[in-house]
């Protein structure tokens, strides 16, 4: 690609959007959720999200999602520049419908897990994970 002045300006502008206005980045949580659920209502029920209340290291935060009847679970970090984290798919023969991973969090924020269940309905769980500078424990 030939780098014209106009292209360079555009690149600079989009970089600014990502850095300065994370929630208006390419995929908003709302868009990602709408794409996953097709606009269906999300209830509560068969889903657990396990995350630390305060992250020991915001760059690698262990989380676990589980649901006995999920076919898919989507995880979102609402305060990250790119909120979608992962979508786990479980087949009929899956011995356990749970997954654990580590995610990077840009700051204190809510992590949300949405499961699509076998019956086609959607349920969600959320947890606030605090990312702190720390340093003054009794």
């Amino acid at each position: 690609m030939e780098l014209t002045r106009r292209n360079a300006l555009l690149m600079g502008a989009s970089a600014f959007v990502v850095a300065g206005l994370p929630l208006q980045a390419a995929t908003t949580p709302e868009e990602a959720i709408a794409a996953f659920t097709g606009g269906a209502e999300i209830g509560e029920g068969d889903i657990t999200l396990t995350a630390p209340e305060i992250a020991e290291n915001g760059n690698t935060v262990p989380i676990e999602v589980a649901s006995e009847t999920a076919v898919e679970i989507m995880v979102l970090a609402l305060g990250n520049p790119t909120p979608p984290v992962a979508t786990f798919k479980f087949g009929k023969l899956a011995a356990s419908r749970a997954a654990s991973t580590r995610i990077r969090l840009a700051g204190t924020q809510d992590v949300v897990a949405i499961a699509k269940l076998e019956d086609g309905s959607f349920v969600q769980a959320a947890a606030t994970v605090k990312v702190t500078i720390g340093g003054c424990g009794g």
Binding site: I54, P62, G134, G135, C136, G137, G138
Partner: protein, 565 residues
């Protein structure tokens, strides 16, 4: 089930301490005559199992003075609830007479006068006498140590915790959990734990790499006591790598992990536990919340936040016991366990009045043994104080004011920051300040006194961050320390606001100017959790400052304006 009658028995035990002394009897002899060892230890053995709880000793082998806080604000559901009730209100709540031994031991107010009357508290040789007495009543009583044991003194620092290990081994605990111990570094912690003659427990101590339970720290241990199958589950301090330097123990991860706690409770119950005891370093409000979430715990022996409560707090059917700090108290909990469940309890928080309780000669000899090589350095007088030096309080204490003064003058800084820790004994006006006294309030494995530049904006972020660790309305987001102490910097705090909006009106005290977010300030502090922090050790900075002053005077601190309490 806990009957009303059993609950009354606990208050009776606590109030047995009262009535001995009143106003006008603060003379040393009068106080001692009015109070006897038998009276302190009086306890009608109850049920079939006894628990003995000590916690947060912070390496205080010898008797000390320790002033309880006058400011300890509760937020959210804990506003106005114990332990967030202090001074006269605390005494009113428990029916404690002004000037009584319980007033002196448990609450703030008239501290200096009462300290002169009742004398020092604590000393592990006295604690040993109390433990032996309980074991005389109930030979198979369980002794459980809630942690923060191998930290906090000159000898502990220089022996890397060995002094405390030797003395505690002489007390023969049955199990222990942890917090500051890990600041010895994981190699040293592993070395000690591998040789411990008792259980090192922590259901929330995990391997950081694989996020699996750490092998060296089992989640629980079973004991057979009085024909009862007792399970003791350990709960280490959840926020160690955040509140303390995680780089010193990178192999370990922690967290509250209440879902794993529930699994452990269910597991021990299914293995036949008739009594489930959690030995916890969560902090009191976190334990209260956990007791409401995890079902099946009979007793939580609570540590970390250094609260001393004369009665247990009940959450559902879980009894929560808080046993103070710095060797000042021993809790005895007798339980009646029948047909696989707890039917009742009797409790007493025993204050260790060191002039009243006879030291145990064997443990006294072990203590002398570990101190002898260091005695000259320990007892060297560095200066004297005209003011009461104490630490506890949400925003400041005179010891920290003095430490901040030392940082400002010795390190030529605009602003000083001192960590909001809750350990460290008090010094009465007129007392000499020895090197041991300085180490008792500063000793740690990351004590370098840094000097750095911070912008006004970053200083604000620091204060907001620490304030949220203390005043977040959800206890699970609290770390259990107090507010970072500031020297040369005043501020207003509205504790009811969310993080980012609590701290306003930050003022540079030496000029009276408002802190400019864009401007850079010279900041001196200590206890940074960052690896590679450089500077002289804080105890040397404080010693140099006190030596120059000769006699120190600390004027009342009015630089923090608290709103919304």
């Amino acid at each position: 089930m806990i009957s009303r009658r059993d609950f009354l028995q606990t208050s009776m035990a606590a109030s047995a301490l009262l009535g001995a002394s009143g106003f006008g009897q603060w003379g040393r002899l009068a106080a001692q005559q009015a109070l006897t060892q038998d009276q302190l230890l009086q306890f009608e053995t109850f049920g079939n199992v006894s628990l003995i709880h000590v916690t947060d000793i912070h390496a205080q082998l010898k008797p000390i003075y320790f002033r309880e806080p006058s400011i300890n604000i509760g937020v959210g559901d804990n506003k106005g609830a114990v332990p967030h009730v202090t001074g006269a209100e605390f005494r009113k709540m428990y029916g404690i007479a002004d000037g009584s031994p319980s007033h002196y031991a448990l609450s703030s107010g008239d501290f200096e006068a009462l300290a002169r009357g009742y004398g020092r508290v604590g000393g592990l040789d006295r604690v040993a006498t109390v433990i032996n007495q309980i074991r005389a009543d109930r030979p198979d009583a369980l002794l459980l140590d809630g942690g923060d044991t191998w930290h906090g003194s000159y000898t502990c620092y220089h022996t890397q915790g060995q002094d405390m290990v030797d003395v505690m081994n002489a007390l023969k605990p049955d199990a222990m959990t942890f917090h500051w111990e890990f600041t010895l570094g994981s190699d040293r912690v592993n070395e000690i734990v591998e040789g411990l003659p008792f259980a090192a427990l922590g259901q929330n101590i995990f391997d950081a790499e694989w996020d699996e339970p750490a092998e060296l720290f089992p989640p629980y241990k079973f004991f057979e006591r009085g024909g009862v199958k007792v399970a003791v589950i350990g709960q280490a301090f959840p926020y160690m790598p955040i509140a303390n330097p995680g780089w010193m123990f990178p192999e370990y991860a922690f967290g509250i992990r209440d879902e794993n706690m529930q699994e452990m409770v269910d597991q021990v119950r299914s293995e036949g536990a008739e009594l489930v005891v959690v030995l916890s370093h969560n902090g009191f409000d976190v334990d209260k919340k956990m007791a409401g979430i995890v079902s099946g715990i009979d007793v939580i022996l609570s540590g970390h936040t250094h609260d001393a409560l004369p009665e247990p707090v009940l959450v559902g059917e879980t009894v929560i016991v808080a046993s103070g700090s710095n060797g000042k108290f021993v809790s005895r909990v007798d339980l009646d366990v029948r047909d696989g469940r707890m039917m009742g309890f009797r409790h007493k928080l025993i204050p260790i009045f060191s002039d009243v309780i006879t030291p145990d000669p064997e443990v006294a000899a072990v203590i002398d043994g570990v101190r002898t090589p260091y005695l000259d350095a320990l007892t060297e007088v560095i200066g004297k104080t005209d003011s009461l030096l104490y630490r506890r309080g949400n925003f400041n204490g005179t010891w920290d004011d003095l430490i901040c003064d030392a940082l400002l003058s010795e390190r030529e800084a605009d602003i000083a920051l001192s960590p909001g820790v809750r350990w460290g004994p008090s010094i009465l006006p007129g007392q000499d300040i020895t090197r041991e006294d300085i180490w008792n309030v500063t000793s740690m494995s990351y004590g370098a006194a840094y000097r750095t530049e911070m912008t006004g904006e970053f200083l604000h972020v620091v204060l907001e961050d620490v304030a949220d660790n203390l005043f977040n309305p959800d206890p699970y987001y609290q770390q259990g320390g107090d507010m970072v102490r500031t020297g040369g910097l005043g501020y207003r705090i509205d504790i009811t606001q969310p993080q980012g909006s609590r701290i306003t009106e930050m003022t540079l005290l030496k000029t009276g100017e408002k802190i400019d977010p864009a401007k850079t300030y010279q900041v001196a502090g200590w206890a940074s959790v960052n690896e590679g922090t450089e500077g002289p050790q804080i105890w040397d900075v404080v010693e140099s400052h006190i030596a120059k002053q000769g006699t120190v005077t600390v004027s009342p601190n009015t630089s923090v304006n608290v709103v919304g309490a």
